[in-house]
Every structure is written in structure tokens, then in C-alpha cells.
């Protein structure tokens, strides 16, 4: 009887602090690592939240032909330097230029290609 509040306290602490300790990617962050690590650079992290404040979905997914599927567009550095995909904006004109390798290649080693913080972690998996 006397023990029980303490045990409950322990459970509550875990529940309360859990979300602060567990790593939690921002919803809709896309990681792309189809070639990056194999070619000696860190995986790419593309943040949807940051870009959708500035651009509608169709700017990228219709006008720039970026596919709605992580890793399926076939992005390469050659195409970016050529002004395609990210390179249509990251050209020193609309956004900072392609020389800022670290800003895109910012992922931890071993990241898998995919959309993060989404249904993989909280959504239909539970349904």
C-alpha cells in the first residue's frame, strides 16, 4: 500500500520525460541515402516543414518533377549542378548555392532512405 504511490511516480516520470528523451524526427523530414554514404558523404536530410512555409507542394512535385516517394526521384549531384531538383533553387539565386555541402549532407551515419517522423513511428502502424 505504501509502495504504490512511488511505483506510480516512477511510471509517470517515464511517461512524462519519455518524449523528451526519445529521439523524435520532425514530421515529414525526408532522408536520402541511396548513394551518399557509399560515395563518402553524409546522408541528405530534406526538411518539408522548412520548405512548405515558402513554397506550395506543386512547385517541387509538379513543376520540378520531384516524385512523392523518398529516394525515387533519382537525384544526383550532377543533376543538381545542372539546375534540376534542389539545384533549381540552391543555385545562389533563390537560395544559397550548392557549395554548402554540409547543410544538405547533415545526416548521421547509417540513416536509411525514407520519410521520418510520420506514419512509421506513430500512425497507421498503430491502427
Amino acid at each position: 500500500m505504501k509502495r504504490w504511490p512511488r511505483r506510480m511516480l516512477a511510471i509517470l516520470v517515464v511517461v512524462a520525460l519519455g518524449p523528451a528523451v526519445i529521439a523524435w524526427a520532425e514530421y515529414a523530414d525526408v532522408t536520402i541515402n541511396t548513394r551518399s554514404e557509399a560515395e563518402g558523404v553524409a546522408p541528405v536530410i530534406y526538411p518539408h516543414w522548412f520548405h512548405r512555409i515558402r513554397f506550395q507542394c506543386s512547385v517541387c512535385h509538379v513543376d520540378l518533377d520531384i516524385k512523392m516517394g523518398a529516394g525515387t526521384t533519382g537525384i544526383t549531384m550532377e543533376k543538381l549542378i545542372d539546375g534540376q531538383y534542389c539545384g533549381a533553387c540552391h543555385n545562389g539565386n533563390i537560395a544559397w548555392s550548392i557549395d554548402n555541402c554540409d547543410l544538405c549532407h547533415s545526416g548521421r551515419p547509417g540513416l536509411e532512405t525514407g520519410v521520418k517522423g510520420g506514419h512509421e513511428t506513430m500512425g497507421p502502424g498503430l491502427y
Binding site: 504511490p5 509517470l12 514530421y27 532522408t31 507542394c57 554540409d102 520519410v115
Partner: protein
């Protein structure tokens, strides 16, 4: 009140508040499990909480009500690279009734066309004709139709009632009969 009880109460309230309001728990980039804390970019990139904390709060996904944030003018996502394209807003709705036992789904074009052009959906995801698409919940959960965006980038599929938003009992008789709603 004993200290343990007091602490428990505070924690319960915190859990409750964070669950209900969902506010303020954006992860700093360095411990989001994706970014490499050793990478110099971590000092330069914007923290999600800084950008998202000033928008209309919500309880799921990015913890931002993107539709309201746009409609209230807090953000102005450009419709094209140079931003000078005419917006093409459609104001019709489509009622979808194969939802038993949940409420009907009323799909609204307006918020969607404020976020994207018609080509984002037509015809690559949906044929632009009422009841012409064999949508069901199983396919949505597998990432087809509505589930291509919802559950990945737009609000997650756990928010059943945002899509299943129309009680059949409150529909006008005529609308219930034709299954077609406008405006």
C-alpha cells in the same frame, strides 16, 4: 498534500497538457535522431520550434495547423518558383459515403488548391470525377490516394475525424440521396 502526491499531480497535469495542446515539443535538431550533432551545419540550420512555434498550433504532425496558418496569412507559400502564377482555387466539395461505420468523408477542394495546383492530384492520383476512384481505407493506409500525402507530409492518418467529418444524420435529405455536394 504529501510531496509525492504533489509531484504526481504536477506530472499528470504536464502529461495531460502536452497531450492535449501538443505544443512546445519540437525536438532540437541535434537530438532528433537524424542530424549528426558533429556536423557544423547544426549551428546554422533553423530549429523547427523557432519557425513552427509562431504558427497556428495543432496536436498532430508538425504540431501546426497548416491550413489555418496559410488562411490567416501567417505564411505565404509561393505557387511557383518566381511566385507570379495566378492561384487557381477550386471551391467544390465531394462527399464520400463508403465509410461505414464511421462518418462520411467530405473532401474539400479549397484548402487543397491553396496548397497545390490541380496537376498534383489530377489525374496522377485521382480521376476528376465524383465516385470515379476506388478509394478505401486499406489503400489509404498503404499510402495510396489520400494516404500518399496524409501520413507522410500532411496531417497523419491517426486523425480519423478530420477526414470522417460529416455525420450522415445531419445531412440534408437531397444531398444524402445524390452523394454530391457543392460549395
Amino acid at each position: 498534500m504529501s510531496p509525492i502526491r504533489a509531484i504526481s499531480l504536477v506530472i499528470v497535469l504536464t502529461v495531460f497538457a502536452s497531450a492535449v495542446l501538443g505544443a512546445g515539443n519540437w525536438q532540437p535538431l541535434k537530438n532528433d535522431g537524424l542530424h549528426d550533432p558533429e556536423n557544423p551545419a547544426i549551428e546554422i540550420l533553423q530549429e523547427p520550434g523557432e519557425a513552427l512555434g509562431v504558427l497556428v498550433p495543432d496536436s498532430a504532425g508538425n504540431k501546426v495547423d497548416w491550413v489555418r496558418s496559410l488562411q490567416e496569412g501567417l505564411i505565404e507559400p509561393r505557387p511557383s518558383l518566381d511566385g507570379d502564377e495566378e492561384p487557381n482555387i477550386r471551391d467544390t466539395t465531394v462527399l464520400m459515403k463508403n465509410t461505414y461505420p464511421l462518418f462520411y468523408v467530405r473532401f474539400t477542394h479549397k484548402p487543397h488548391t491553396q496548397w497545390m495546383s490541380c496537376e498534383a492530384c489530377h489525374d496522377r492520383i485521382f480521376v476528376p470525377q465524383v465516385d470515379a476512384n476506388p478509394i478505401n481505407m486499406g489503400k489509404i493506409l498503404e499510402g495510396e490516394y489520400c494516404g500518399l500525402c496524409h501520413g507522410a507530409v500532411s496531417f497523419p492518418l491517426t486523425e480519423c475525424n478530420r477526414c470522417h467529418n460529416t455525420n450522415p444524420a445531419t445531412l440534408g435529405r437531397e444531398e444524402a440521396a445524390t452523394g454530391e455536394g457543392t460549395q
